[in-house]
């Protein structure tokens, strides 16, 4: 039995189908990255898995319990840090941890010890008695993480834990998630950042339009996309069609933003000189030229024909 299993999970809101039948399996002790653009169905899936929303069809088991029939048992065993850390700004970090401990049935002494331990762990001991309203975005996320851990959950759900954070705070949260995973916590992480999924997740699922379009080990998935992506930006937009024809001879076209042509370069880097020569011969003026090993964005593009929102192309 796996920490998270879902079969044919569907959720509709009126006429809108947010999640259209997904299957998921998360192994014990792994960081599972659930990647997709805004509105893809990530949060709806997480809300179903953490018992905040009932599936319209299908079923899911978390920590061995059915999320509908045994919701209470699921709640005892999971830790959840939802998007937009719901943290009362008028309370202090310490008070919120104590409240969270009580919500999970921890006794007075255990709650006190555990709060102190977690505050230390996320580096908030000094700010423990300050109102959360005075915390920075990064501090709030770290407190949110501590809150989710108060009862030593078997599975930790992190819904976009770094959205809106500056790069330094983001790295701090990543380190914390990695450390937690090293201690044996299974982490289910949703994110819209490719880099985050790449950094943290041992296995990922890419969701788009409510369905899972790719699933597996990121390295394997990237390998499957195959050839590296060659992006060519033309100096004169009028020549873009010509560039497309020339490049078409070297590999299949991939999605790219305006003014650029991208292909999966068959044969990889050794063929670059050939490409340059061909472009030059046909008189295509090149403004910019880059060759990338396949990224998760390529995996996403390969699966959906689009680039992930906000991703570099």
């Amino acid at each position: 039995m796996k920490p998270v299993e879902a079969e044919g999970l569907v959720r509709t809101f009126g006429d809108v189908t947010a999640v259209a039948g997904i299957d998921l399996q998360v192994d014990e002790g792994e960081i599972f990255g659930f990647l997709g653009p805004n509105g893809a169905g990530k949060s709806t899936t997480v809300r179903m898995l953490v018992t905040l929303l009932r599936p319209t069809a299908g079923n899911a088991r978390v920590a061995g319990f059915d999320v509908v029939k045994d919701a209470d048992s699921v709640r005892r065993l999971i830790g959840v840090a939802l998007q937009d850390a719901a943290i009362d700004p008028l309370m202090t970090g310490n008070e919120l941890l104590r409240l969270q401990a009580v919500l999970h049935g921890l006794g007075h002494r255990r709650a006190a010890n555990r709060s102190a331990e977690l505050l230390e762990r996320v580096g908030l001991t000094g700010a423990a008695n300050r109102r959360v309203g005075t915390y920075s975005g990064g501090m709030r996320r770290r407190l949110d993480l501590a809150l989710a851990l108060i009862h030593r959950p078997a599975v930790l759900f992190l819904d976009e834990p770094t959205t809106g954070l500056d790069p330094t705070s983001r790295v701090a949260v990543w380190e914390e998630v990695r450390a937690l995973n090293d201690d044996g916590t299974t982490v289910f992480l949703t994110t819209q950042y490719l880099e985050e999924a790449d950094e943290l997740a041992g296995r990922i699922a890419i969701i788009d339009g409510g369905v899972i379009v790719r699933e597996g080990d990121p390295t394997v998935l990237k390998g499957r996309v195959g050839d590296p992506t060659l992006r060519v930006e033309v100096a004169d937009n009028a020549t873009i069609e010509l560039a497309r024809r020339v490049l078409g001879a070297f590999g299949d076209e991939r999605p790219a933003r305006d003014g650029r042509v991208a292909i999966g370069l068959r044969g990889g880097a050794p063929r670059l000189t050939e490409v340059v020569r061909a472009l030059d011969e046909q008189g295509v003026p090149v403004a910019h030229f880059e060759l990338d090993s396949p990224s998760l964005d390529d995996v996403f593009a390969d699966a959906t024909g689009r680039r992930l929102e906000g991703a570099e192309t």
Binding site: R75, V80, D88
Partner: protein, 269 residues
């Protein structure tokens, strides 16, 4: 099933008591109170305003033949008490609406705390919070020469009526905001409270009411609540004036409480 999950399975069966979560959730709201005293303003200003204005503006009505008291405050104090308590109930709805909007409610809902406790906590807070306007109005009424022939028991019943009224409005308000999930729904709660409490015997006894108002006041549950709350200020406490008020509170909580709980559960459907 792996060993780690097996041990978790045992943990999953442990019961989370409801008492401590309720106490702590209340504690949280009371803490907010001390840190954001602005929340107190409507609770203090409005009941005091109602007491002073209703007593002073309409002082002349005691000259009507058959008006039960010469000292208008003895009649109006119950009205002001219930208005104050009502603000407490409405305020609770606002607090919960805020919790829904900023996501704090989700935090409660993903915890293993019983759903009933999530409803009982804000109601407990309502009752405690209602003590502020109730005490303020009571003290001010004495300062304005109110009589209490019903003695301590009369005061106790006045508080009971106030707290009970606050709880009924609180349950109703919780139901409304849990259904809509919107702070703006508070206007509905507020307006409904006004609409219920005004066409009753807040300012004038039934015998002196005319037309539709008399008919409405007779069947308005607020009338029974006002009678119970008021009796100690007018004369001896009687069971006949008490039980209908208690019944209104019991029925109000029995109807709106489970409704609020059902709406809470519906939020996770």
């Amino acid at each position: 099933m792996t060993a780690a999950l097996d041990t978790e399975r045992d943990r999953s069966r442990s019961r989370v008591s409801s008492l401590f979560p309720v106490v702590w959730m209340c504690h949280r709201n009371l803490t907010r109170f001390t840190r954001l005293p602005a929340i107190l303003v409507p609770l203090i200003v409005m009941p005091v305003f109602f007491l002073v204005v209703f007593t002073s503006s309409f002082d002349g009505i005691t000259r009507l033949d058959g008006y039960p008291t010469e000292n208008l405050i003895n009649w109006v104090v119950a009205f002001a008490l219930l208005q104050g308590a009502m603000f407490s109930g409405v305020g609770t709805a606002g607090t919960v609406a805020n919790d829904i909007e900023n996501g704090f409610m989700d935090r409660l809902l993903v915890s293993p705390v019983r759903r009933g406790a999530i409803i009982v906590a804000p109601l407990t807070y309502t009752a405690i919070r209602a003590l502020i306007p109730l005490t303020l109005v009571t003290v001010l009424a004495f300062a304005m020469n109110a009589d209490v022939p019903g003695g301590i028991l009369g005061i106790v019943l006045a508080y009971t009526g106030g707290i009970g009224g606050a709880l009924v409005i609180g349950c109703f308000g919780l139901g409304v905001v849990l259904r809509t999930g919107d702070v703006r729904a508070m206007t509905i709660v507020q307006m409904t409270s006004f609409l219920v409490i005004f066409p009753s015997i807040g300012q004038v006894p039934i015998a002196l009411l005319d037309g539709w108002m008399e008919q409405v006041a007779r069947v308005n549950p607020a009338t029974n609540l006002l009678r119970m709350t008021r009796q100690g200020y007018l004369g001896d406490v009687t069971w006949a004036d008490t039980w209908p008020g208690l019944l209104v509170i019991a029925c109000g909580i029995a109807v709106f409480g489970p409704w609020a709980r059902a709406e809470l559960i519906r939020r996770t459907r």
